[in-house]
């Protein structure tokens, strides 16, 4: 928050995306109905996930692919590294995938002596900078054009140029040959179609298409909630995904991959692998309330409208998934210890629910996670500068609850607090108060009245 330039870049970019989304849905009257339909499809799919996944696996193998199941990140990396080393891979081209970020796959490949090369522009820039993405669909949203030009000058010796085109050109020149050289293509998955065994990948740059068709071996990695029943469902999601994400009617590219290259076909990999990842998702599935978070199609709309995300930025969330959806799923995926503060970093304004294409009730799920964090950690520190220890907070809460269970105690506590407040007041307002330093640094507190409403009512 302290970096004003970052702040401006972030709020401009998110506002632009937010406005484009609003515009796109305003011009698309059936959008609301499709959102309801998308939610129904998701609910049905997630409620019958085991059936959907086994059907997907069966069909995927029937069309020539190989399915691997990974209960956690370690297993997923083991599978992918195993495939890569068996094929003596040196270079892997990657197209953007939040799931591989979640697994920490790029580092694992590097450690094994395989160069992972990000091919999506934003992700490519982030990789050069040695950073992590700060947004689900715009990984470099926190960087300005100048930041990127400086970075390329420093790391690649690329001459600075005022043309935005130049950055794209730089990436293109460097990446083109890599696509041809790579032994391995690694991608994410937007939708995996159970009925046909197809993988659907949605993108704007065309790199996913190259990464998945040029190398000899393609490994697709998906969170297990990405399965959908059939192509008709895909058509519903495609009409709201890009609109929610960027305000486009449709992304520039939609690839539907059904099996590896067949004999006689010119393009496509010889081998196609699908790694289906759980990595904590079954915990979300098992929770009656949180199950809904698996409906997420990773469009980023909730980030773009969130007042907290706009000011804090994606990196403040400390993990791959930022924004409201991150605050909901991270405590379960990472454990309450690592993500305890996240559900509390929200004013519960609910703007995210208004724009979620599948209408996930994000504010209610945040409340649900707050309760879970409180129950799980009696010693957790409260986020923010008023960092009481957990037990202090708990004692305060219990005292408050006791007072509020008694009309008499409530009346007394109110009089006492108003009396103390009145001592700090001058000119009808309080400018400082013990224990509320940070709150009072930008706001006055009203001078408490001599008598409460109930005291005045009694006197009538």
């Amino acid at each position: 928050m302290a970096d004003e330039r970052l702040q401006a870049a972030l709020s401009d970019a998110t506002d632009r995306l937010r406005d484009r989304r609003a515009q796109a849905f305003a011009e698309f009257p059936e959008g609301e109905r499709l959102r309801d339909r998308a939610r129904q499809i998701k609910r049905h799919t997630i409620d019958t996930l085991d059936t959907q996944l086994s059907l997907l696996a069966e069909r995927f193998e029937a069309v020539g692919g190989v399915v691997h199941w990974a209960e956690d990140a370690a297993r997923a990396k083991e599978v992918i590294l195993g495939l890569a080393t068996e094929r003596k891979a040196k270079l892997a081209v990657k197209s953007k995938s939040m799931t591989t970020e979640e697994l920490g796959l790029a580092d694992a490949l590097s450690d094994a002596g395989i160069t992972p090369l990000e091919t999506d522009l934003g992700e490519y820039i982030i990789q050069i900078a040695g950073e992590t993405p700060s947004h689900i669909i715009v990984p470099a949203i926190h960087k300005t054009f100048d930041d990127v030009a400086d970075l390329l000058e420093e790391k690649h010796g690329t001459a600075r140029c005022e043309e935005h085109q130049a950055i794209t050109q730089e990436a293109r020149d460097r990446l083109r040959s890599s696509f041809l050289e790579a032994d391995l293509g690694i991608s994410g998955v937007n939708f995996a179609v159970a009925e046909t065994g197809s993988l659907v990948i949605v993108e704007n740059e065309g790199n996913a298409r190259l990464s998945t068709s040029l190398p000899r071996c393609h490994i697709a990695v998906m969170g297990m909630e990405k399965v959908v029943p059939d192509l008709e469902a895909v058509s519903v999601f495609l009409r709201i995904l890009a609109r929610s994400a960027t305000g486009q009617k449709m992304s520039s590219y939609v690839s539907v991959i059904t099996g590896p290259r067949r004999s006689g076909e010119e393009d496509g990999p010889d081998e196609l692998h699908l790694v289906i990842v759980d990595n904590g998702r079954s915990k979300l599935l098992a929770d009656r309330a949180l199950r809904e978070s698996l409906y997420c199609i990773r469009c980023g709309a909730c980030l773009n409208i969130c007042p907290v995300y706009r000011h804090a930025g994606g990196h403040a969330y400390g993990w791959v998934y930022p924004g409201p959806i991150g605050s909901v799923i991270n405590p379960t995926l990472l454990g309450p210890e690592r993500a305890a503060p996240l559900p509390f970093a929200s004013s519960l304004c609910g703007a995210c629910r208004d724009v979620c294409p599948v209408r996930i009730n994000l504010p209610h799920l945040l409340l649900h996670q707050r309760d879970a964090v409180v129950r799980a950690s009696s010693t957790a520190r409260i986020p923010g500068r008023s960092g009481f220890k957990g037990w202090v907070e708990r004692s305060l809460v219990r005292a408050y609850a006791r007072v509020m269970r008694s009309e008499r105690l409530y009346g007394r506590a109110g009089r006492l607090a108003r009396g103390i407040g009145a001592r700090f007041a001058s000119g009808g307002r309080i400018r400082r108060a013990p224990g509320l330093g940070a709150w009072m640094s930008t706001r006055d507190f009203p001078e408490p009245p001599k008598k409460s409403f109930r005291e005045r009512w009694e006197e009538k």
Partner: protein
């Protein structure tokens, strides 16, 4: 108003909220005026304290539940319950059934009470009430998040404000964006809350308003507190005070 004191004759219970009770009694009084103007007989069940929202919102469900049960016992015999706060109304209307879901009998009672609990502007908008207030002023209406998004009440307060003679409603850039209060959020993460508030204030400074009004004292404390700190001429007032004609230039 002798009958006011006799709960048995009243059809409408005022749920005043802690903030209004302790800090803004004039808002409670304006609310009573408005309810009486709309033809209600108002009672104030004095056993009422806090509805449990601060505890529920900070994750202390178990501690909030007894307060919810207590609230239901106090209010369930009235024909209706009205409160001058969107977030407190949504606590009772939306969250009580969830909070008490493991106790079927209480959940049922919560649901029955929820159906009879209203936020003030939402209620007035359903009656034949018409504000007789006069105020020649430029006013921004701030839609409180819980009122707008949990209760779906957005047009009612604007319709009521338009009844005030001389009052000009002004739109704000990104007007429906949160003010950053969020109750405990503003105490736990005061800098973040202030940063969100800052944008609201900037928009307000650019629009030449004399008043900002809302149907929730929480937002008004946040907005009014910052306006006061800056020595701004814009005043934050509760919508009940405007509608009851208790605000002068």
């Amino acid at each position: 108003m002798a009958c006011r004191r006799r709960l048995s004759l009243a059809d409408t219970a005022l749920f005043v909220t802690c903030l209004v009770d302790q800090l803004f009694p004039q808002v409670g009084e304006a609310t009573v005026d408005l309810l009486e103007q709309s033809g209600c007989t108002v009672a104030f069940p004095s056993a009422q304290t806090c509805c449990g929202q601060p505890l529920f919102n900070t994750g202390y469900r178990a501690e909030a539940a007894p307060l919810a049960r207590r609230f239901i016992e106090i209010f369930e015999d009235f024909e209706r319950v009205v409160t001058p706060s969107g977030s407190c109304a949504s606590m009772v209307r939306v969250f009580y059934t969830d909070l008490l879901r493991d106790e079927p009998e209480w959940a049922r009672r919560a649901e029955a009470l929820a159906a009879r609990t209203f936020e003030l502007t939402e209620f007035l908008d359903r009656t034949s009430f018409s504000s007789g207030a006069n105020l020649e002023a430029r006013v921004v209406y701030h839609p409180s998040c819980h009122l707008k998004r949990e209760l779906g009440v957005d047009e009612a307060p604007r319709r009521l404000l338009r009844q005030v003679r001389g009052l000009e409603l002004i739109g704000l850039d990104d007007g429906d964006r949160c003010c950053g209060f969020g109750g405990a959020f503003s105490v736990k993460l005061p800098e973040l809350s202030s940063a969100i508030l800052e944008e609201k204030l900037k928009a307000l400074e650019n629009c030449d308003a004399q008043f900002i009004t809302a149907a929730d004292t929480g937002c008004l404390m946040q907005l009014g507190g910052a306006l006061s700190r800056r020595g701004s001429g814009v005043r934050a007032v509760h919508i009940a005070e405007l509608l009851a004609g208790r605000v002068a230039l």
